[in-house]
Symmetry: D2
Subunit: 491 residues, 4 copies
């Protein structure tokens, strides 16, 4: 799908050859300490320490991505390899650009802010630092070819690590171009090792190179294997079966329907934050919500990629899944359930119309149905159900039993209802209020799962510090010694 003859007007200056070496030797993954990290670079005649250099690279790269010809270039490049509308691709570039702005100037060194507390006697003080791991690895998926790898890569660098980056090879051309741009903006070539390989090779590489930490964004299956292989030296942002609950206060039906359509169907449902299940309070059942969602789903079309190929699930297996669900008593197809028509999408990919299946709440909770209903389909597909006012605890139980806790939405402006649902749930990124959504997380708030010590976040200062550094404490104890005169007895 990648066209290597693509023109790259703005970043021809550097050779990429060293980036594509198949296998960086382990020796190259030297540990970069905080102080080594300050070694100077002579860039355009100015001396920079590492933190300042990265602040400068970020400011320059942000400014370049803000140029219409550059953002357009990357948006179209994303579209070539990952099926999404131009606006979705542009959104990815925009979030990346804003993220880079956020770490301009002194903001990289501000991330390295430490604290100190007085000790027990004169001359003693404890200093708490966020410290780099050293050699680390980053593995990212196909659905956000620019945003996920760039944000995690820069986070790793900002905190002083030496990263090796692997992007899903179907889409790695995007990050390859972005690295050229970063080099052009002053990032030293030796800062990042970029590897292009299949998963098996990468797994072998990790076991041999023993990075101190590996960030994996991708499927739960691979995540669990890696977690065991690497004995837990890992941070994960794996799939999510993301839920939305509509509360008792029915309002703004048009708006809520539109948000549901976007959450379930944008990027053909191939966001890890996509709406997988919708719980409607009984008050919503009599509203126009479902009919409106149906209308909105029908607006989507292949030409502008508002609906498109599903890269990891075939049409057949999605239809099979739908059939199984429709065998559950009380279930029914609300819309969709058919293959896309008039397309040239290869058989190895999926092609399904936006689809919603209704399942009664009591059936969902049955232990023989639960795993089937809450199986994540990484495509334009969702479950819809409803609940009576006194069934809220059943809804919360269902949410608690799901195995991943990534994003969630509680659509209500009722403060006591919000308090109840938010207090009894754990999803890492949870939107609350009448404008709540499950997708579209920007760079200004945390995005990631909660409830799992392996969970990784992305985007914010907190995410960068928690994922890409560990706590270290140095206790200075310089004296003077107490004037006791004699040596205390042994204990």
């Amino acid at each position: 799908m990648v066209n290597h003859s693509l023109k790259l007007p703005m970043c021809r200056k550097r050779k990429l050859s060293h980036l594509w070496r198949a296998y960086p030797s382990v020796q190259n993954m030297g540990f970069i300490t905080h102080l080594e990290a300050k070694k100077v670079f002579n860039l355009n005649g100015t001396i920079f320490c590492r933190y300042l250099l990265l602040g400068d690279v970020s400011a320059k790269a942000a400014h370049m991505l803000a140029q219409p010809e550059v953002s357009d270039f990357f948006s179209r490049l994303i579209q070539r390899v990952s099926p999404k509308s131009y606006k979705q691709a542009l959104g990815e570039v925009h979030v990346t650009q804003k993220f880079l702005e956020n770490f301009s100037g002194d903001q990289v060194r501000f991330l390295a802010r430490s604290f100190a507390v007085p000790g027990n006697h004169l001359g003693q003080q404890s200093h708490g630092y966020r410290w780099p791991y050293g050699p680390v690895a980053i593995i990212t998926p196909f659905n956000f070819p620019l945003e996920i790898p760039l944000l995690q890569l820069m986070g790793a660098l900002y905190m002083g690590n030496k990263p090796t980056l692997k992007v899903d090879s179907k889409v790695s051309i995007v990050m390859e171009q972005m690295l050229r741009l970063l080099h052009y903006c002053g990032l030293p070539e030796e800062d990042v090792d970029f590897i292009n390989s299949d998963g098996v090779t990468m797994n072998k590489f990790l076991l041999e190179a023993k990075p101190r930490m590996t960030l994996f964004t991708g499927s739960s299956r691979v995540a669990e294997k890696l977690a065991a292989d690497l004995k837990g030296r890992i941070r994960l942002e794996d799939a999510g079966f993301d839920w939305k609950i509509l509360g008792p206060d029915v309002q703004e039906v048009d708006y809520v329907a539109w948000v549901c359509d976007q959450d379930a169907h944008a990027c053909s449902g191939q966001k890890c934050s996509a709406q997988s299940i919708l719980f409607m309070h009984e008050n919503w059942v009599s509203s126009e919500l479902i009919p409106k969602m149906l209308c909105l789903a029908k607006r989507r079309k292949l030409e502008d990629l508002t609906i498109g190929p599903v890269l990891t699930v075939t049409t057949e297996s999605m239809l099979e899944h739908i059939d199984k669900l429709l065998n559950i008593p009380g279930s029914k197809l609300l819309f969709g359930g058919e293959p896309l028509e008039n397309h040239s999408i290869p058989k190895i990919y999926g092609a399904l119309k936006p689809t919603a299946v209704f399942i009664p709440l009591t059936e969902i909770l049955k232990s023989n149905n639960f795993d089937l209903v809450t199986k994540e389909i990484f495509g334009p597909f969702q479950i819809i159900t409803d609940y009576k006012h006194d069934q809220l605890s059943m809804v919360l139980e269902a949410c608690e039993r799901m195995h991943a806790h990534l994003t969630a939405a509680v659509v209500s402006n009722d403060p006591l209802f919000l308090q109840e649902v938010l207090g009894k749930s754990v999803n890492g990124t949870t939107y609350a209020g009448i404008r709540a959504r499950t997708t579209g997380a920007p760079q200004n708030h945390w995005f990631g799962p909660a409830g799992d010590p392996r969970g990784a976040g992305i985007g914010t200062p907190e995410a960068i510090k928690l994922v890409w550094s560990c706590h270290r404490e140095i206790i200075y104890d310089i004296g003077p010694l107490p004037q006791h005169g004699e040596i205390p007895s042994a204990t």
Copy 2:
């Protein structure tokens, strides 16, 4: 070794039966959410929310431990099961008491402090929380029967979790008594499940109960197995081969020798922070340091447990290890190297005089020697070596290659030397300055390894928050809606 007829004068009031049930059922490990956590308890006629209740329990328990008869009771109880001097045991009680003082009053709720950042439009705000995991497990070792389990247990409770606690059964009597004291101070009995079992049973329990997080303090071997078994849902504080580097500025030799003796030999070397290797700058070689250390080692005696039984390594295997080391060219025995005499310590335990072996630095770094030299012996044993001024990078390489990075000490007041060594090392708790030590971490600074994403800390607000909670972000988005009038197009 536990005498169950021991009198427990201050906490007879409650029955312990439910604590000793062999196997808490999984259903009991219900998820305690932040808001559920606030459910009120009617304690002595006053209504408390959970945070306040725990602040109150902590204040009361701290006050009780401050009573001489109570601290004496616990110190002697610790001595009965864990071989250490009275002063060392009392120190453990003191740290525990201060820790509880630190979380008196409102300080538990202050731990739950969250932050918020304005959103993109009126009515939007993102709130970042430290959120509980829910059901968690805690497994702690024999060497600190009170401090380690109590601090981790309270940390887990403070952050809103529901912990199951297992202490090494040789010493669990101490924590059993402490739980009675906590109940007496108002801790609800259903807050903690206390399990008494061997490791195999506990492993089986964990695999079945699937706690969201497990804190393990203990040997590296078990740690690695658990990390794989639990697929990384774990925080570890495992063994450390802890180093001390003496810098070029020789001063206060008496004091430094005394600190070395304490670091290497207190608790018979059975602290995970014990000094395992000492790197002396050449300037120290001609000082009286080693002879003074020898004198101090000789002061230690079995009667007051300043030297005593080694619980996890036999005398025989320690002597064997020493023999292997002495085969390395240039090595020599500096002191010790013999079994303790005139004792009734059973054969299954170890009994060794404080011992130090010199190995040349160049030999340590050889790949066929490195693993042998840096093998952790959990007893009164250390390696000593020296380095020339231009060999500092070899010392740093040795420190970097060690597989665990727990505590360390850089004994120097030379600011440029400190900068060099601290910047190029990663140990989690690192003491720096002429008074630097490796052991004796109190409750007011972080104690734990660094450089490993699985690393756990203990003691401070940072440790509690990082180990016992995860980041969650709730984005409130209550409106009003923009006055656009029409639904945007799909993307």
Copy 3:
């Protein structure tokens, strides 16, 4: 009113003589620096640094105040000098006790936490501290004889200052006893200078002693004079004309009426947070709110001091004020408006039944009425008014025009209404939600005005740090020097 024969069973041990010297010489107000502050005290055989000493004093004093006989002693002592019910006096003791618990153990040193940020080159780092002012003064009023002086005094000490304390001499016996208790708990006698004088003498003292900072809690008139006299080296917590707004959602009328009664009439309205004006949304007008408030006001009686003497305003001047208000067109007396009966309160104090006067909103806003209506009466008196839904901006304008911005309440659970009112107001301590009140601030949240750079807070870590310390930044720049070889040219 003070009975000096009062028995003080628990704190007879120390002489108070030095505390009552009329005029501490300026030389005694030596500057205590952070490091001097660490000088050791030998207390009961243990060595403490200042931070630890104060943590220890706080823990012990908290424990003593938690003893029923001690809290009862202080509650009754407060009642002897400040007219309030036993429960209100006990509440003051309770808040003080919890505050002291909050700064037990290491929490005083945790307040002194600093931060550091990497510099521009190797060896450079900037450290930001909260630094003490040195010699400071504290002046506190009659209405909270224990809570206000104790909390501010300890805050000043915690941050490393050397305070001189003056409490209103009508009530200073309470703090005199508390100081004895603190000495008993280990506070060094030379830490605090306690001065007993009239205001004129104190003013003269301040001008001569030139404290680096003076905290004044009391009337606006004195506050403004002091601010000019001391050229702004001051923090103020002066009077407040505190407002409450009832939103459109009428609910829980009984509860809201009870809160209004407490806010307006507890301590006979002599709290700086007392409800001075109530704005009712038109939806509340037809509710039972006003009749219920009337009933509740009538329950108050002199015997238990639920209503009692007003110390700073005479009955006559209050009645005169009411008469003036009743001349405003549309105004009416809702309840009260008469002197208390059957009492022996001296003429120099006030004695008024709980009183409420209704004034139309449009009249309040008129420039010739505004100052009259918003004049603070430090007694059991309030203004009540109502507003139509489209008059909210007038209500907000009235709140903005008031000259002090201390406490406020927005009684509503409507999120959009709360957003509107909170976003357009500035009061420092603002309660929001159906349970909102204006009085009864505890030690766990900030209490103080906002919108004024001289505003002081009380109670929380933030308040202590902002009031009792200033920002200092030390930039370490130890080298090594750049290897340029030659001296740069002059600039």
Copy 4:
């Protein structure tokens, strides 16, 4: 001195007329609340909230200032009105540019980060905010025509205030041009009122307009008057008599001499951080320091403005001051002490060669000399003295007695010496270590005095938050109500 025919190529687009209105009416100084502050602007077709708008303006303005032609334009414009070398002027532009980079993207909203703490019961939470004052005023001096007004102005805007800005009218052309650039980058014209007036008019304006807060940077005399006039509603960054102490460890004499020359003479000593007094440890007396400083002082020349006119002190009054000092026993002229030659500097300004006068320490401390010696001369002039090892406490006493505590330097790498001096001093911006200086503060650390509650800082997130916002706490208390059933009794 201002040439209004100066060409302003890049910012001709907007009319400045409204900025130069002599007197903004008070009504225009409306209060901007946090939520009003979010009102949207339609800028280039995109909707921004205030925080995002300001982040965007900052990113754009930073990028423009990074363009060589723009930074050159501003550097030369600064040189036209403020006598300093090109490199010093460029440094001012550079700091401004980096500051703007620091608040790009989301960083303005991150400044508004608030915190929340759980309350006493379900539904209660306290939220702590940094809240804007509303209408504020900024008054800045001649010596940094761009950096000081721009950094304070943006800080005021970032925190949500509505500022009126007055820059010393001799140099206000620089900020007038900068405002045009900000407007070009998207700053709404109504955000800032820019007033051009003399001091008397401004004083009258402040008394009438009653801004909630006024930031004044300038002379101590005016500062004290303003503080009284405005009753302390002020933050000050007034003059400093800044000291440097050389410690016992003599090293890097060339470097230290060069730093002294820059600190005392750059901008002809017209920085509020300029080195006013130098205390040399006796070990330095025999070094080449003073001769080297003399050499360096002689390099300075009028042509490149490395020495130049003194704007606020005449030559005559400086010579007179020197004469008075030379009357002190033991004093001597080290270098300088003569007027500049061959120049056309008008008589109303000063023109002095770089000058240093030695005064014995014991004489400095005498009460009849102290005020004379520590009088700040805002020109190329310094006092030099020396001290014996046991006279350090006299040096510290001298530093403590100085009335302002702005910048300071402790030139030593001896950790115990640094600890002693730093712990016993209070200057707000203190450099420590062998590379310590007193001038040249960048944007990445705090710059401002300490020890005075009126002290203002500049540059960093802490400075912006402390100067331009106040603490507000909103306590949400939404219920549910306790299920007690009946109304509690009155208290």
